[in-house]
Structures are given as structure tokens and as C-alpha cells.
């Protein structure tokens, strides 16, 4: 083979190599761009989540995506682990397996200092408000600001009044938590949850035990604060009507798994018998009315043997 032929072959191989590398690079770029877009749209990614408390399996392979900027409802019967899920996201509990990515940080593996830094960007509304009972409303809301910032008292006062104005309780700033009604307590807790302008707020059963007016106020507040502050909200609840009214996307949990998910409209059309029973509040169905037991006849017949 002549020298020029060898050169052509070598050049050809080099060109093919460049084409392959370019193509690979192009595909990789598309792949990474896709992953980036996915990550940008979902703030929280839960994958293959397993969690057990003592002998009881609470989650058995759960996958959930919480979209950035949206309101996601987590619904399910009592005891399904909805509150546990929030505690796992907040890093208060550690899963037995699986990952929980919050803004690209794997919560279960975060060291303590990093976890506390992440929590400053999370707000949580507890079921009973969990206000600090030895402080008045004003000091409760000022508490996270005093702990995590070096703002002057004048600026803290302005911020606290802004948060109280947002929840409609500026006039109640001098009251003690024991002087607040249940609904007011939750609104104060909501003001405290957004005190540090977090990226997300988790609501644990926000509507439970509330009168219709308080429910309406909370529904309005959750929606308006989410949209106005650009938050990402997660609502854990079994109040179907209220949650469906404001949630952009809903996950139904039961038996440690995600049974169904989708928008409220899509879930309404779901073919899952369990989802239909839950959404329509039917007494009997896939979740039976009777707790598992022997047949009634067997139990009655055994009554004769009881001494």
C-alpha cells in the first residue's frame, strides 16, 4: 500500500472517530439537558423509598416527584404514613432504603450541618401548629429570624408584620398561643413557616378539625402564598374536597405504596377501585368494612365453649 493510501485510511479512521465522538457528545448533551430539565421541574424526587417502624412496613418502594412551583397533595387513609413522609423529606427520619432528593441534595445522606442549612429553606406547618407556648405570636414568628439572621430588631419587626399581614393576623401579634383559636393558630404557624422565605412549605393535615370558614381561609392562603411567593407546596391530608380544589397533582398512598397519581380530574376518572372508594368515601370496597377475623358463625359457635 502506498504512503498516500495509508494516509487516507488513517484520515478516514480519524474522521469516523471524530464523527462517533461528536455523536456521542451530542447525545450526552441531549441526555444531560433532559436530566437538567427534569431536575429543574421537580424540586423533590423520591425513589424506591422503603421505611419500617419497628416491625411495621410503612413504605415499600415509593416513587414520588414534587413539581417545582406547584401544589402537590399526598392523600391516603389514616395511618398510611403521610406525616412520616414529610418527616422523611425533612430529614427527621431516615429511610431504610431509597433516596430523597430535595433540590438535588440527598437528604438521608446529608451531614447534620448541611441538613440544617437545607431546613432553613424548608417550612413546615404542623398539624396542631406547634407554636412555642412561652412566646406570643410576634415572638413566635420572629424566632427563626432571630436564630438565623443578624437583622436589626427594626427590620425583624417589619418582616414579622409583613408575614402577619399576609395571613390576616397583624392585629393578633400580642396574643399568646393559648389565646388563639385552632384556625388562628395554624395561620400564625403558617406565617412562621414562611418567615425565612423558604423554597417549599409542607402542610401536615392543615384542614383537620377546622370549621368551614377556617378551611376556606386556609385553602385561599395556601394557594395565594404558593403563587405569590413562588413556593413549592406539599399538602398531606385526607380532606378530599379541599385538597382536590387546590392541588395541581395528587398522589394516593395506601399499604406502603403509591396506589394512584395524577391531577384531580384524572384521579376522578381512575379505574382503580381503591382510588374510587377513597375519593367517594365508600364504607366497603377494596378496604373492607370488617377488620379481618374468623367468620361470625365460628365466633358465635365458640361462645358455647367459654366457661
Amino acid at each position: 500500500m502506498s504512503g498516500s493510501c495509508k494516509m487516507e485510511l488513517a484520515t478516514g479512521r480519524r474522521m469516523r472517530g471524530i464523527v462517533i465522538i461528536t455523536s456521542l457528545g451530542h447525545n450526552a448533551a441531549i441526555f444531560f439537558a433532559a436530566v437538567t430539565i427534569m431536575n429543574e421541574s421537580s424540586l423533590i424526587q423520591i425513589r424506591d423509598l422503603h421505611f419500617a417502624h419497628k416491625q411495621r412496613v410503612v413504605f415499600d418502594g415509593v416513587d414520588i416527584d414534587i413539581q417545582r412551583g406547584g401544589i402537590t397533595g399526598i392523600m391516603g387513609p389514616s395511618g398510611t404514613g403521610k406525616t412520616t413522609l414529610l418527616r422523611l423529606i425533612g430529614g427527621q427520619l431516615k429511610p431504610t432504603r431509597g433516596s430523597i432528593l430535595v433540590d438535588d441534595e440527598n437528604v438521608p445522606r446529608l451531614p447534620r450541618a448541611a441538613l440544617y442549612r437545607l431546613r432553613q429553606r424548608m417550612g413546615m406547618l404542623f398539624q396542631n401548629g406547634a407554636l412555642l407556648t412561652d412566646m406570643n405570636v410576634y415572638d413566635n414568628i420572629a424566632y427563626p429570624l432571630r436564630e438565623h439572621t443578624r437583622l436589626s430588631e427594626t427590620l425583624i419587626r417589619t418582616l414579622v408584620l409583613m408575614k402577619l399581614e399576609a395571613v390576616g393576623l397583624r392585629g393578633a401579634r400580642d396574643l399568646m398561643p393559648s389565646e388563639l383559636s385552632g384556625g388562628m393558630g395554624r395561620r400564625v404557624a403558617l406565617a412562621r413557616a414562611i418567615a425565612l422565605d423558604p423554597m417549599m412549605v409542607m402542610y401536615d393535615e392543615p384542614f383537620t378539625g377546622q370549621d368551614p370558614i377556617s378551611k376556606g381561609v386556609l385553602v385561599r392562603l395556601i394557594r395565594s402564598l404558593n403563587d405569590a411567593l413562588g413556593l413549592t407546596s406539599i399538602i398531606v391530608s385526607h380532606d378530599i374536597e379541599e385538597t382536590c380544589a387546590i392541588a395541581d397533582y395528587i398522589y394516593l398512598l395506601s399499604g406502603g405504596k403509591v396506589v394512584a397519581h395524577g391531577t384531580a380530574q384524572a384521579l376522578g376518572r381512575s379505574e382503580s377501585a381503591w382510588a374510587q372508594q377513597f375519593l367517594h368515601g365508600e364504607a366497603d370496597g377494596p378496604v373492607p368494612f370488617h377488620y379481618p377475623a374468623n367468620t361470625f358463625t365460628d365466633d358465635v359457635m365458640q361462645s358455647g365453649n367459654v366457661s
Partner: protein, 259 residues
């Protein structure tokens, strides 16, 4: 038989698990103590709650214990013609033993139970969880100031108890039973040593302060977050603290005065 053994083993494991959790908590509390420096108002408030509010029960108990010591001591000493030694007897009994021990028992009942109930209820009402979610460590903000306040308050309360007790003994011995006033104080000054007696008493009360407050904050923090759980934890604080104080008192006495 096998069931009883299993139960015994389970109880033993539970005990050591709780002891381990308690030690880890104590380490976290000690680790968090420096963070109290810029937050002195927190410590002052807790010292008021734990120490100042316990003053009444300490002063009244100290007075009566001193009066009883004066009466009993006089009745015994007078048979040997040594009634003038009443001051020494009252003072030594108080600064070496009764001051630290009775103060610690009263402190466990008054302040220890209150600490456990407060922390347990904060846990039951999710206030501690809320602090964690606000990125505030409850061990540093809630437990550490209460622990340090207890440790500071106990020796001061024990000193007040002993001082009031000496006055109670004087009131009965000198005021009511006719012991010579000068002899009461002179004998006391001659025989009570600052290092051997008073300092050892202070060390005892400091140790009791650490142990009682540690038990109180741990029981509250480790309580089952229900009304029944908090109630049980409060009872455990008083019982365990009392037993620990009496047991430790024997060990410390043997080490300090056992020649």
C-alpha cells in the same frame, strides 16, 4: 422459667439502651453549652425558673430540718454533758450530708419534675419537632440552658438550705433550750473545716445537681409523647433521681470521709 429469663434479658437490654441514649444526650448537651454564651438571657430565665422558684421550699425545709436537728441533738448531747457542741453537730450534719442530700431530693421533686413535664409536653405538642424543622437544635436551645441552670442552682440552694438549717438549730438550741450562744457559734467555728467539710458538701451538691438535672431533661426528651407517657416520665424522674442521689451520697461519703 424461660419467659422470666427472656423478660429479665429484655429489661436489661432496655436499661442499657436508655443509659446509652442518656449518655449521648449528655454529650450533646455539654457540646451545646458554649452556644449559650451569646444567649445569656436564656440561661438567666431558666436559672430563675429552676433555682429562684425553688427557694421557698428549700428555705422552709432547711429551717425545719435545722430545728429538728437542734432538738434531737440537744436531747442526745445533754446526757453526755456536751450540749455546747450542738452548733458543731448541727453544722456538720447539714454541710456534710443533709444539706446536699435533702436539697437534691427536694430539687428533684420541685424543679426536676417540672423540667421533665415541660420538655415532655413540648415533645408531645411537636414544639421540639418544629424547632428541628426551623433548623434550630432543641438540645442546644431547650435542654442545655435548663441543664446548666440546674447545675448552677443546686449548690447555691444546698448552701442556703444549710445556712437556714444552722439558724433553725440555733433558734431551738439557744433560743428555746438554753444552750450558750457563744459556745454554739464558737464550737462550730472550731470544728467545721472549710475544705474538709464545706467544700466536700459543695462538691456533693454539684454532683447531685448534674445527676438530677440530667435525669430530668433526659426523661422529658425521651418521654413517650402522650399524656400517659409524660406522666410516667415525670414519676421516673423523681424516683430515679432520688435513688441516684442516695446511692451516690454513699459513694461520695466513702470517698471523702472514709479515711
Amino acid at each position: 422459667m424461660l419467659g422470666a429469663l427472656q423478660l429479665l434479658g429484655q429489661k436489661g437490654l432496655d436499661f442499657f439502651q436508655r443509659l446509652g441514649r442518656g449518655n449521648i444526650l449528655l454529650l450533646h448537651i455539654v457540646e451545646g453549652l458554649p452556644s449559650l454564651l451569646p444567649r445569656l438571657p436564656l440561661l438567666i430565665r431558666q436559672t430563675y425558673m429552676v433555682g429562684v422558684l425553688s427557694l421557698l421550699i428549700i428555705v422552709v425545709s432547711g429551717l425545719f430540718v435545722g430545728m429538728v436537728l437542734g432538738l434531737q441533738g440537744y436531747n442526745t448531747l445533754v446526757d453526755f454533758g456536751a450540749a455546747e457542741s450542738l452548733g458543731t453537730m448541727v453544722a456538720l450534719s447539714l454541710v456534710r450530708e443533709l444539706g446536699p442530700v435533702v436539697t437534691a431530693l427536694l430539687f428533684a421533686g420541685r424543679a426536676g419534675s417540672a423540667l421533665t413535664a415541660e420538655i415532655g409536653l413540648m415533645k408531645a405538642t411537636e414544639q421540639l419537632s418544629a424547632m428541628e424543622m426551623m433548623a434550630v437544635d432543641p438540645v442546644r436551645r431547650v435542654l442545655a440552658p435548663r441543664f446548666l441552670a440546674g447545675v448552677i442552682s443546686m449548690p447555691l440552694l444546698a448552701a442556703i438550705f444549710s445556712a437556714i438549717g444552722v439558724l433553725g438549730g440555733w433558734f431551738v438550741g439557744v433560743g428555746l433550750l438554753g444552750v450558750d450562744d457563744g459556745a454554739y457559734w464558737m464550737q462550730m467555728q472550731d470544728h467545721v473545716d472549710v475544705y474538709d467539710d464545706i467544700m466536700n458538701g459543695v462538691i456533693k451538691s454539684l454532683v447531685f445537681g448534674v445527676v438530677v438535672t440530667w435525669i430530668a431533661v433526659f426523661e422529658g426528651y425521651d418521654a413517650v409523647p402522650t399524656s400517659e407517657g409524660v406522666s410516667r416520665a415525670t414519676t421516673r424522674t423523681v424516683v430515679h433521681a432520688a435513688l441516684a442521689v442516695l446511692g451516690l451520697d454513699f459513694i461520695l461519703t466513702a470517698l471523702m470521709f472514709g479515711d
